[in-house]
């Protein structure tokens, strides 16, 4: 078992970190203030090939895989969890095409998704809730060579930015026949709706997608009619949960780094506060949380790269790291005292952002069900 990243992975981390520290960091306060991701940030991320990290080389991507993506998301989210979140969802939207799309769909979309000319998304959740995709109301009905979709998706990340979106619908009259359609700008009848105002993840756009008699060619179905749940749940399980683990790792790193920096600078009784055990114990727990989360997340990502089934491991990584990101953001605030609560200090942002890591890509309770069922099966 080798825990050392190889030279390419180390260079990838360096590339992502230099983008985050030297470019992205300058935009963070602006992103927070305006609640928008500046166009130039998205363009620069695309210019550095971040969008195509999981797209195979033959379709214009880099084919670097799941572990590379995890490292990228960790480094972006260390500076801006908002960009980490957007990036993770762009990758999530790409996955159904890479994994389940046919050759024609791959050739049509992947090269332009790799360059960032197109941005992907995945829309499953509706007002009936995200944890039970079988309760969705969006319907598709055949009309000649097209399908006509009607429905409304909610809490969709990148709803107003993405232009190639995988949408889960059920076939009219066949309530159990779920199908994933690719909506693009050539499909008339869909548009972004309301844009949510969130307590955190400023600049990471979340909103509704509305389909009113939206015509989608039959050639835009991913897989077959009736494959929708399999495609959607595989994407959320392997890529969505991995992505939220990556975002959580970034928040964990940021909280720990900021807490250690402050505890070195802040003195009490003439010595830095991290000379006191009360602070050391908090920092020790934060470090443990980061390392445990990283081990779980990297292991799950390596399994995905090796083509192994990893839904349980992804759930463990997502569950642990997202809960840990809240614990550590709170600890970072605590170590800063009142300063930790002030808007001028990033620890309040880490805390606000960390809460969304729970509900995105399956709540803690959903992950517990996945892990619990796996444990019962294995140890019965």
């Amino acid at each position: 078992m080798n825990f050392k990243l190889n030279e390419d992975q180390e260079m990838l981390r360096k590339a992502a970190r230099s983008f985050a520290d030297e470019f992205l960091a300058d935009y963070v306060s602006n992103i927070e203030e305006k609640d928008e991701m500046p166009k130039e940030v998205i363009e620069e991320a695309a210019a550095r090939d971040f969008m195509g990290i999981t797209i195979p080389e033959e379709y214009g991507g880099l084919g670097l895989g799941h572990l590379a993506r995890m490292i990228l998301l960790e480094e972006l989210s260390r500076v801006s969890a908002s960009l980490g979140m957007l990036m993770q969802v762009w990758h999530l939207g790409i996955h159904p095409i890479v994994r389940f799309g046919n050759e024609e769909q791959k050739m049509k979309y992947l090269p332009r998704l790799a360059t960032g000319e197109l941005l992907a998304g995945l829309a499953v959740t509706e007002s009936t809730g995200g944890s039970d995709p079988t309760a969705i109301q969006t319907e598709a009905v055949r009309d000649g060579d097209d399908y006509v979709l009607n429905g409304r998706k909610v809490f969709i990340t990148s709803s107003h930015l993405s232009n190639v979106v995988g949408v889960l619908a059920k076939m009219t009259g066949e309530p159990q026949s779920f199908t994933l359609f690719i909506l693009d700008k050539d499909c008339p009848g869909w548009r972004p709706g309301r844009q949510e105002k969130k307590i955190g993840f400023k600049g990471s756009n979340t909103g509704d997608l509305i389909m009113e008699d939206c015509r989608v060619p039959a050639s835009n179905i991913i897989g077959n009619i009736g494959d929708g749940l399999k495609v959607g749940l595989n994407s959320i399980g392997e890529v969505g949960r991995a992505g939220m683990a990556g975002v959580s790792l970034g928040l964990l790193s940021a909280s720990l780094e900021k807490a250690v920096k402050f505890s070195n600078e802040r003195t009490m009784g003439g010595k830095p506060i991290n000379k006191f055990q009360a602070i050391q114990f908090k920092i020790a727990d934060m470090y443990m949380d980061l390392e445990i989360s990283r081990l779980l997340a990297y292991k799950a990502a390596v399994m995905a790269d090796e083509g192994m089934r990893c839904d349980t491991e992804m759930s463990m990584a997502k569950y642990y790291s997202s809960e840990a990101s809240i614990r550590c953001a709170k600890a970072a605030c605590d170590i800063h005292g009142s300063l930790g609560y002030m808007m001028e200090n990033p620890t309040q942002r880490f805390l606000r952002d960390s809460f969304l890591t729970i509900s995105s890509a399956g709540t803690t309770e959903i992950q517990q069900m996945v892990v619990g069922r796996a444990a019962i099966k294995q140890f019965s």
Binding site: E7, D8, M11, L12, K14, A15, S18, F19, E22, F23, E44, A47, R48, D49, F50, I53, L62, L64
Partner: protein
Amino acid sequence: MEIIVCIKQVPDPEHLQLDPHTGTIIREGVPTIINAADKHALELALQLRQKNGGRVTAISMGPPSAAEALKEALAMGADMAALASDRAFAGADTLATSATLVALIHKLKPFDLVICGYSSLDSGTAQVGPQVAAILRIPFFTAVQKADKSADIFQVEVVMEDGNLVYETTLPALLTVGRRINRPRGIRLSEAKKARSKELLTFDLQSLGLTPDTVGGKGSKLSMVEKIPLSVGKGAEMIIGEPEEISGVIYGKIRNIGLGIQGGI
């Protein structure tokens, strides 16, 4: 154009620690980065290559770990890299460093341009660039703000305290650049992926044709004999007034203690 860029691996200032006894920078176990100004030097080289064609070679002198900085330069887009590394090079002053770099440059001849960062974050002497040029007997320009080649003319604009000066020069020449000249490109993942197949040459004392008495500590002409700690004054002076007035007073004070031009590079 054949362009050589000098790169120095330096301790990351975010993690900078001084030895409390000797006052020198602790280098062991501290994360390293490419010297900030050197990234701007590399960016200028890459832009000149884009416009005029040719090749960019990143070079460095340092321990074997300095190869990391060169690999990063390759990932940023340099075509090849060369490292001078030998225990005999340790403890070099700027002149011994420059002599070693010149020996390395001779191995890579012919070249049109050498570009260096204006100064390093860890030493800050700003001497190596000019010394390399002096040993090579080529013209040099420090604090370059702009450099461009059109037809056979190479034009250089340098920063002065009260404005800029524009020169035309023959090539080969050496330039040093600061942080205002450009915004270095980051590492594109597609470039990083290609970097591993690019050539990274390593030379030691013997392969550079050097002798121990001309390099490293032995070849150095100066050594630090004492470090006088900065005296810390007591009290503070309150400057009261409108922001423009306050900034004017602060500017005057900075000028009076001899600082000025570096801020503009």
